[in-house]
Symmetry: C2
Subunit: 495 residues, 2 copies
């Protein structure tokens, strides 16, 4: 397999047909309504539709909605946004309360397209060969991709510690999971390239020789869940090359990409370039802060990118989108049509109207800029929380006497701390549970890292960590208090 | 198999285990977060959660929402409903914008339970053995039930003319579909009982003897799509008995049940008991207007009932619920957890807040009553539209010279007309297409009935109908104009 840039839909079909699941091949959708435009054209008399099974819009109980939108996170200042059956003209309540296209409302998709284009999160091959589809949260998007693509004959590579529900999605299609070694440190963050390359180069003699070669890599490249790690650009380029060489597709799950932080400054722990001095401009944010995504390197159509509104808007919207080549898109859409149909229309309305009301301008450039400003303010808030938690960790007595080490995140919502257990004192999992119980007694909860291992035997050197989230605490003092309690628990444990 | 009333969860498991799909058995969900309550209890210091991957609520861009709710359908009068991060206390924006339980928000589920209890749409067996789950529209609910229950070894009975997407759902799990004959007339509406009984009694010598006996009946008992027919209570009782005798589960899909009409009065076509004289009280509506549902006859746990907010609220909410025994419930929930997770939180919020704002009272009784009033007003509007369309059809020249016959609906959104084709003039489908094209030229669209047949060969006597929707037209005049155009098209065709 040599890499090739697809020129036509037929190219995509030829290259990617083998990435589609057995189940998908049996899938079909019976369409009983007429999709052709009518030939009717009779002056100003219009066609009367007695075909669609749609209720009349005057039967919907909502006349209008006033959204009160925050000017910035954590503030109390609001801007009103009025949504009625007629407004906004381009996406009104009459449309969003009604049945609609499975792929999502075109005005929202068009905004997303302009936005990701501004951010360079788009592929390098022909613009007519990829598309965006909306879904009901990245969980839903990921479920649908695996339903579309994997079956008993598929193998999928995933980071050895990962977002666990995805493991269920994969296993439930019958596919096999192959964990990839992670470097759990700040020197060479994330997937261990040597391990990966050697695994793929020596497949026939390796531990998985009884399985098919992997067709997919599922990865969370930025602010990884649970490790908080971010892959460097060079690492991404090398992994993309491996994908070309060994012909696999990269599933880039990137819910945390926008929450990207400047490096933690040990001299000045609370330094926050998002707000100190002259704050970061949106151009700088795009150029120097955000990480280069896999999709932005994609010449072949082999990257499927998952984004969600959960972390930059609100999880209760259950709204996400997927960027992929038209061949995968068609398969995904077909499955969406015969399963959930369409993400909530009112969620789409609220996301659209909120974004478009953050500025009074109607100019796309200004709308993109104001949405970017919102996102950067979020990133600013997360930076502060990360700083506060890191500082408290570094200053804790337990850390100073080397009871644990810290992996610094540069994106997302998580920090991991690795406990320096004495292995002679017994099984790591038992020791972790003991610390967990002490923490519980002291009033703090964190995620037991080993619960996020795909295979505890494989990850036996990485079972000794806790995942701490700094996003949910009420305020900085609560973060500090939480770290105090962790400190106390560890001191008690090692006493 | 003799029918039995389940007493415990184990009974359910024993009775219904064989109704679960092969795929479901492999399904599992890895939970990595702690679900036990913490032991922490330290005066007024509370547990600090660093575990959940939830964003902080102060990072969501919506401060509050003012909903302007119609006092009745088609009116312009509105009542305001204010939703904030704190209000309504029992289901605030802070909760609905956040990650939440897959089964839906408890306050909304509790309201639904009270509502269906008032309507007697609940099973007869132990109240602790059934539950309600929310999903993203009945399409989503149905998709999930078939994923949970059917596979290559399953056969499912469906009405020979049915809601087509469900056919795709069933086929895509590998299951086989068996069409059931329908009586397309107002004398013995819906499923042909003799046919059904004889099919089941003579299975081993019948046309499907090579298939497993059916495990499921999928039926739309009220205002059926596409035929508009409603099964009588006696028919339902007999079908339930058959279900007990031949051990199948009834999937009762009832999106149109609330839109139930008094009989059309040929003497006084526009008679509408919902508004004429003293209008129907909610007690009368429940007792004498609504049809008895399958679930209300269910002693065994063998009915799964599907309801949706699409027709009584708005399709853009993508919100539905399913009532079923706890064993099916657990399987459904598990699948929901590893696929779409939860229906839109904001959809749940808006439905909850709208219903609870239709009266200023906080008393459950009043809230149920005011929601019922809304639904009855909808039914009133649909009755009027049905009347207008039926009257126009009966008065049309084409009907008077016997070019078509009419099947009168007593619920839902559809009327079918059967064209009296001369079979010697050729294939029915070709003739239908010609009429369709004439209608198109005259500016009216309806659904070609044959497109909603599961098997055109099986339904060869029922291919000659059009499904007309009276819900979507702008007003009564448009309905009349549409029928004019149909009349014109048929006169042209038969000329
Ligand atoms: C890596 C990863 N992917 C996907 C998701 C789910 O996102 P969504 O809320 O869009 O379903 C999460 C959320 O926790 C996540 O951490
Ligand atoms: C019989 C039947 N079932 C289910 C549905 C879908 O309902 P929902 O909008 O809840 O997905 C429809 C809608 O047209 C229908 O006619």
């Amino acid at each position: 397999m040599t890499a090739q840039t697809p020129q036509t839909y037929d190219d995509l079909k030829e290259i990617y047909q083998s990435f589609i699941s057995r189940r998908d091949k049996d899938r079909h959708m019976n369409i009983f309504w007429e999709t052709n435009p009518s030939k009717f054209n009779n002056g100003n008399q219009s066609l009367i539709e007695l075909s669609g099974g749609m209720p009349n819009e005057s039967f919907f109980p909502i006349e209008s909605i006033n959204l009160n939108i925050l000017t910035e996170p954590v503030s109390n200042d609001t801007i009103p946004s009025i949504v009625t059956r007629e407004k906004p003209e381009i996406l009104s309540l009459s449309r969003t309360l009604q049945y609609a296209l499975s792929e999502g409302f075109p005005p929202l998709i068009e905004f997303i397209e302009k936005f990701i284009t501004k951010l360079n999160n788009i592929p390098l091959y022909d613009k007519n060969l990829w598309k965006i589809i909306l879904a009901g949260g990245s969980c839903d998007s990921l479920f649908k991709i695996f339903e579309t693509c994997t079956d008993e004959n598929s193998t999928v590579m995933v980071e050895e510690l990962t977002f666990v529900p995805v493991v269920s999605n994969i296993i439930n299609t019958g596919a096999k999971i192959i964990p990839l070694k992670l470097n759990l440190n700040n020197k060479d963050e994330g997937i261990d390239l040597n391990y990966m390359e050697s695994l793929l180069s020596n497949w026939e003699t390796g531990p998985y020789k009884h399985l098919e070669r992997p067709k997919f890599l599922y990865t969370i490249p930025t602010g990884q869940n649970p490790t908080g790690l971010t892959q460097s650009v060079e690492k991404r380029r090398k992994i993309y090359k491996l994908a070309q060489k060994f012909n696999f597709v990269i599933l880039e799950d990137d819910p945390y990409g926008y929450l990207k932080f400047p490096k933690y400054n040990h001299e000045n722990p609370l330094e926050n370039p998002y707000k100190d001095g002259k704050s970061i401009s949106s151009d700088e944010y795009i150029k120097n802060v955000l990480m280069k995504s896999y999709i932005s390197m994609d010449t072949d159509g082999r990257v499927i990118r998952f984004e969600t509104f959960s972390k930059i808007f609100a999880p209760g919207m259950r709204l996400s989108f997927v960027i992929m080549n038209n061949f995968f898109y068609d398969k995904f859409l077909k499955f969406q049509e015969i399963s959930t149909r369409q993400p909530s229309g009112i969620s789409q309305q609220i996301v659209y109207s909120t974004i478009h009301s953050m500025t009074s301008s109607k100019d796309d450039k200004d709308i993109i800029e104001s949405w970017l400003q919102w996102i950067m303010k979020l990133a600013c808030n997360y930076t502060e929380r990360r700083n506060v938690m890191l500082q408290a960790l570094y200053e804790s007595e337990s850390f100073k006497i080397d009871q644990f080490s810290i992996v610094e995140p540069s994106a997302g919502m998580f920090i991991i701390i690795k406990i320096n257990f004495d292995e002679s004192k017994g099984n790591i999992i038992e020791q972790m549970n003991k610390v967990f119980n002490l923490m519980d007694n002291n009033g703090v909860r964190a995620i037991l890292g080993y619960k996020m291992a795909v295979d505890q035997e494989f990850s036996k050197d990485h079972l000794n960590f806790f995942r701490l989230t700094y996003s949910y605490a009420d305020n900085n003092n609560q973060i500090k208090e939480a770290i105090n309690r962790i400190n106390k628990s560890l001191l008690e444990y090692f006493k």
